[in-house]
Amino acid sequence: MSPSRKILWAPNPSFLEAGKSTIKVLADGRFSVWHRKGVTMSWMGPREDAENAFKVRLSLRTALGDKAYAWDTNEEYLFKAMVAFSMRRVPNREGTEISHVLLCNVTQRVSFWFVVTDPSRNHTLPAVEVQSAIRMNRNRINNAFFLNDQTLEFLRIPATLAPPTDPSVPIWIIIFGVIFCIVIVATMLLILSGIRQHRRKNKGPSEMEDTEDKWENTVKIENGIPCDPLDMKGGHVNDAFVTEDERLTPL
């Protein structure tokens, strides 16, 4: 392979079973790809190309379970299209085509590396631009594949976390305010009714009965007649004389 030509290499996934590939940057600026089975491929290019490549990892079965689709070349085409779309939204890069996005090393995981080249196909676009483009459009890319930030990972491109929704007034203060008001109102009502009972007791004739003892239910009884006939019920019939009426036979 001559240094000026870059070859896009997308090996057969079965070739890579349970294996992994390493992209290693050599001392003289080239970078090479090793495959586990001992086959060495070199992709000779300037050092910065290695830095401009990003690894992508998809977890289809985790995200979709039984509805997981198979990752084939059509899906790869869609991916390239999404990356190209993201790059086209960057100012000065509106001319990015799908053919400018290069994928390689698709594993069974599913994971692969990609780079975006410029229209001349001689240089790769700087990592910073690709990073910001992907970050801006992360949501669209995720949705195209029915995945989310955790199941479609771009290594070295951290996702912007969704800011928490902060209502203007924290909810807890509202509920606190409601309960606080209820308790204050109930307390005021009880205190006021207590004061009213107090005043009524002070106006009443008897000093024996305490207003707070209204729930007193042991009444001392002797001979069937309550001992406190002159109680606070406000001038009721004197029970001591009730029985006399009944002794008189009606006419």
Partner: protein
């Protein structure tokens, strides 16, 4: 004719009041911990023995004293023997300390309750850091539930010396909690009697709902099996027996004067023996019932964490070796690991340090008690349930009911002697006395809402009530049996209720229970002396975990003051009465 005393509308209100006082947060967050530490199912053996030997007799004793003397703790003990007025004062002082710090728990329960109405629950997600690229550092190191408790609720400082400022959010919740308590005790037994229907019954409703939910959770059986497999060797551990005795003692709330206060509002002919047995049995059954719920929740949480741990290992291996997604499962994890270790040794050795050893046992063994259990462990389990807002609201509402129920008893212990005293009640109506007590307790309780407040809370929780109560109940039992006379008390009870006193009660009051209390007392003292300096757990924000620190000297002084201020009341009361009598005798002698 003596002034009529307010009474409970029905005996049922009295029973509910005692239940709602005795069944408190300790049943939910202390008993499951003890059960787990001391042998699971086999802990029930010392627990039930201590219940029959120590719990029931002492509970009956306090109820009988209250019902017979028909006064609060100060008046009751003064009637038994004038030299014992200090015992009543000590009870009131301890109750005052307790009510100061206990209501802070209700404030925290309110805080969590108000925050349960959000989606997602605030303790289920970590807040983002400054530039929105990741989560807050403290939250990452600890967990989101710990972060919410230590940072958002308490805003805890790194040590007790750094007090910080009063946090206005917990302070507001504390004020609300005190207002609610004031509302419930405002009219004395009239209002308390109605409130205890709710505070006694609602927690059971919630516990039953939680039982059903807990048992249907995935992994609940792991927790239950772990709890109930008896570890018989723990029966030989003296600590198991001591902790069983301590738990029964404090769970019933003996010695605070609340039971005496409640019983003083009974009709004299009330069968308090039956009620004592009922209340103590219900209290212990609730503890066991609550621990079943707690352990099914533990099991769920442990299983959830264990499975998350396994999933993390699976993800790590899948990513490092680019295996097919979904190829590694829990069942083939071990064999695939050994295959990878043999096939790719160098790569495997790189990854190996990051592979955590996931163990269900170690998750289950994290035994927690106290506020940690209620506000960290439980919230962690709740956030993983479906419809977590509903479960959260139910749970904190239950905690609130339990806490308010106990607070009613605590405040009754303080207010009954105050309202009984002719001096005070002639100047102020009952509402004003209650208001003053609540106001003072609330003002002092604001200390616990400072940044170091939780450390002071732990001090009060561990030291304010433990030793003094043992001493108080010991003196109570000894006073009734030997000072007042067991025969005299027996005949009093017979005249009052119409039932003869069973020999069992006499044997327990006279001999077994005091001996048990003395041994508990000796154990506690020796434990404090042997440990030397007292230490506490402080939250280290940089590490995201608790670290042990020593108390500074002034904190130790305050601990000593707490214990001394209540225990010294007993001898000082006796001394005071002695001096007053000597002066009176000298006066009458000089006059004559």
């Amino acid at each position: 004719m003596d002034e009529a005393r307010p009474l409970w509308a029905t005996p049922l209100q009295f029973v509910f009041a005692c239940i709602s006082y005795a069944v408190g947060l300790g049943n939910v967050w202390r008993f499951p911990y003890l059960c787990q530490m001391y042998g699971g199912g086999s802990f029930l053996v010392p627990y039930i023995i201590m219940l029959t030997v120590e719990g029931m007799p002492l509970l009956y004793l306090e109820l009988a004293v209250g019902q017979r003397m028909r006064q609060g703790s100060i008046g009751a003990w003064r009637t038994i023997n004038p030299y014992l007025s200090g015992v009543g004062v000590a009870s009131v002082v301890v109750s005052f300390f307790l009510s100061m710090y206990y209501n802070v728990i209700n404030a925290w329960a309110f805080w969590y309750l108000f925050h349960s109405f959000q989606d997602p629950l605030p303790w289920s997600v970590c807040p983002l850091n400054g530039n929105r690229t990741g989560y807050d550092e403290e939250c990452e190191k600890a967990s989101s539930t710990q972060y919410f408790w230590y940072r958002k609720t308490l805003n805890i400082s790194p040590s007790i010396q750094e007090s910080g400022a009063v946090q206005w959010e917990p302070a507001l919740c504390l004020i609300l909690a005190w207002l609610l308590v004031y509302l419930c005790i405002l009219r004395g037994t009239e209002s308390t009697g109605k409130v205890v229907y709710f505070t006694a019954l609602l927690p059971y409703c919630v516990l039953i709902v939680y039982l059903v939910r807990g048992l249907t959770l995935h992994g609940a059986t792991n927790g239950l099996a772990y709890m109930f497999t008896p570890k018989m060797e723990q029966l030989a551990n003296p600590k198991a027996w001591i902790n069983a005795a301590t738990q029964i003692f404090f769970s019933l709330g003996l010695g605070f004067g609340s039971l005496i206060a409640f019983a003083s509002y009974n009709e004299p002919s009330n069968n308090c023996q039956k009620h004592a047995v009922i209340v103590s049995i219900i209290n212990s059954s609730t503890s066991i019932f609550a621990s079943v719920v707690t352990f099914s929740i533990y099991g769920f949480k442990a299983t959830f964490n264990y499975e998350s741990c396994l999933n993390k290992v699976i993800l790590l291996l899948t990513n490092s070796f680019d295996l097919e997604d979904g190829f590694l499962t829990v069942s083939n994890l071990e064999e695939v690991k050994s295959y990878l270790a043999s096939a790719y040794p160098s790569k495997y050795s790189e990854v190996f340090p990051q592979i955590k050893n996931c163990s269900l046992e170690s998750e289950l063994e994290t035994a927690v008690q106290g506020t940690g259990l209620a506000f960290i462990v439980y919230t962690e389990a709740i956030k993983n349930m479906e419809v977590s807002q509903l479960w959260s609201v139910l749970y904190f509402f239950m905690l609130l009911m339990l806490g308010i129920g106990s607070m009613l008893g605590n405040t009754a212990a303080i207010l009954t002697p105050l309202t009984d005293s002719k001096v005070i009640s002639s100047y102020l109506p009952k509402e004003a006395i209650s208001g003053l007590v609540c106001l003072v307790s609330c003002a002092i309780g604001l200390v616990f809402t400072m940044e170091a407040g939780n450390y002071w809370f732990d001090i009060f929780n561990d030291y304010a009530a433990t030793l003094p109560l043992l001493l108080i109940v010991l003196v109570e039992a000894a006073a009734v049996c030997y000072l007042y006379g067991l025969r005299r008390f027996e005949s009093d009870l017979k005249a009052m209720t119409g039932h003869a006193l069973n020999w069992y009660w006499k044997a327990m009051w006279g001999g077994v229970s005091p001996l048990l209390i003395i041994s508990l007392f000796v154990f506690y003292l020796s434990d404090y002396i042997i440990t030397g300096t007292l230490q506490y757990q402080a939250w280290d924000a940089s590490q995201g975990q608790l670290v042990t620190k020593d108390y500074p000297p002034y904190a130790l002084a305050i601990i000593g003051l707490l214990v001394a201020s209540s225990t010294m009341c007993i001898p000082l009361g006796a001394l005071g009465t002695f001096i007053v009598r000597r002066l009176k005798r000298r006066d009458t002698a000089s006059v004559a």
